[in-house]
């Protein structure tokens, strides 16, 4: 058991595909949202949509951290790197996300800013220790999976008494975004699309457990099936969603039991709680301003909070009006509905965030799905 190939078996995929086709009611339409970019990527890469009957539509959700980061936050990253002579450390996904006026971190680096791609926040800590005369800022993005490592690094920085390390916190919360999609926030932008259920997050759920999703079955009557990121996991979860819809049920089911427990990773949760607190309001690309949907660094660690350390007064960010990322992140449009998809917006020349990360709906569709479009 290596936990990878076994869950990509083509024969089992055929079995699951026939079961889904047999059980899906041909007289109705099923619209399921896969929240995570990881699922979007798996669906595109393994051609899962081709194995599903035509009346099951997979709608791509906003679970791609660089996709939901609004232009203003990208501008902040560029400004931090160019105005303050800092070493800005970031996960590679963020490098090519377009900010205002087509600027990005990769362009800022070409202009001479010291921006370093890191694999782990630990690398940023090491860079800080190796450069005691320079300020090092880690630009923290990501959902509940990526937050606990940032928490560990902040605690370690405090323990070591590092004076030149700080974190610009942009960590966001999955349940809040799901609630926003379903119209649960007054000032958020709800998706103008009726969903029949969610393929629930894989690794986010390994951290937060299955309990936070009961809100969606209880308050919104939407089934949630937590699924692993391999293609068979996605197909099994679609089958379970079809069954729930057919039987009029809305329950939280866990397909990814090999990694997800009801309680989740309590150690990671406790560390997150110790280091971060809820942010009153956070702006999401596509979802608008969503209350209690993101985290900020607690006051006892404010010395390590880059937002406090480097207050910036930036001009109002400007969005690329032609880009349909917002609608795509809400599930209202598919990548091919966007006027600039494929021309001129491609992964080599991304004009919108959804074309940057391999988990973005546009990048996934461009990389794997465009051949199917051509064949049709």
């Amino acid at each position: 058991m290596k936990y990878i190939e076994e869950f990509r078996d083509p024969e089992l995929a055929k079995i699951l595909a026939s079961a889904i086709t047999a059980e899906a009611d041909p007289n109705r339409l099923y619209k399921f949202m896969e929240f995570c970019g990881g699922h979007t990527h798996a669906i595109a890469r393994y051609g899962v949509e081709d194995l599903l009957p035509n009346n099951i539509e997979m709608i791509h959700g906003p679970g791609c951290p660089v996709c939901v980061l609004p232009v203003g936050r990208v501008d902040t990253a560029v400004a931090l790197a160019t105005q303050n002579d800092v070493i800005l450390c970031t996960y590679a996904d963020l490098m090519r996300v377009p900010g205002s006026k087509f600027d990005s971190l990769i362009k800022a680096r070409a202009r001479g800013a010291d921006i370093r791609m890191v694999y782990s926040v630990t690398d940023a800590l090491n860079i800080a220790e190796a450069n005691p005369d320079r300020e090092v800022v880690f630009f923290g993005i990501g959902f509940e999976t990526t937050t606990p490592p940032t928490a560990v690094a902040l605690k370690l920085a405090a323990k070591k008494g590092l004076k030149n390390f700080s974190v610009h916190c942009n960590h966001v919360l999955t349940p809040a975004a799901m609630r926003a999609i379903l119209g649960g926030h007054e000032n958020g932008k709800a998706a103008n699309v009726v969903l029949d259920g969610f393929v629930g997050p894989a690794h986010v759920s390994a951290v937060i457990g299955t309990k936070p999703y009961h809100e969606f079955t209880r308050d919104y009557a939407k089934p949630v099936v937590i699924a692993g990121f391999e293609p068979l996991d996605v197909m099994q979860s679609v089958l379970q969603l079809v069954r729930q819809v057919n039987e009029g049920r809305a329950e939280v089911e866990n397909e990814y039991t090999r990694a997800v427990t009801p309680e989740g990773n309590k150690k990671a949760q406790a560390l997150t709680e110790e280091v971060f607190e809820l942010r009153d309001m956070f702006e999401w690309r596509g979802l608008g301003s969503v209350p209690n949907s993101a985290l900020q660094i607690r006051p006892h660690l404010s010395a390590y909070d880059a937002e406090k350390r480097f207050p910036l007064d930036l001009p109002t960010p400007t969005e690329n009006k032609a880009c349909a990322c917002g609608e795509i992140l809400r599930g209202e449009k598919s990548p091919t509905d966007c006027k600039i998809y494929g021309n001129p917006c491609t992964p080599e020349n991304p004009l919108g965030a959804c074309m940057v990360s391999s988990e973005g709906a546009c990048a996934a569709h461009w990389t794997y799905g465009r051949f199917r479009d051509a064949a049709e």
Partner: protein, 73 residues
């Protein structure tokens, strides 16, 4: 970004780090976020941290579920 890969722990170190192996590649990861894992366990690795232990029995059960779906259909 939540993409994370299953890798096998092949060595434990005193500093809270472990060496994990995936298809012949050996990498150092932090065990700060997981308890009770040891050599031979598979963990999900995300941005240099082990996030969860993979449960072999549950994995077998899920694979069996896929196969049973076929018999039912």
């Amino acid at each position: 970004m939540c993409l994370a890969i299953p890798a096998k722990i092949i060595g434990l170190r005193d500093d809270g780090l472990a060496n994990v192996e995936l298809e012949g590649v050996i990498k150092e990861v932090s065990l700060d976020l997981v308890d009770g894992v040891g050599i031979g366990d598979y963990v999900i690795v995300h941005v240099g941290y082990a996030l969860a232990r993979l449960d072999p029995e549950e994995a077998e059960r899920t694979l069996k579920l896929f196969a049973e779906t076929g018999q039912a259909a």
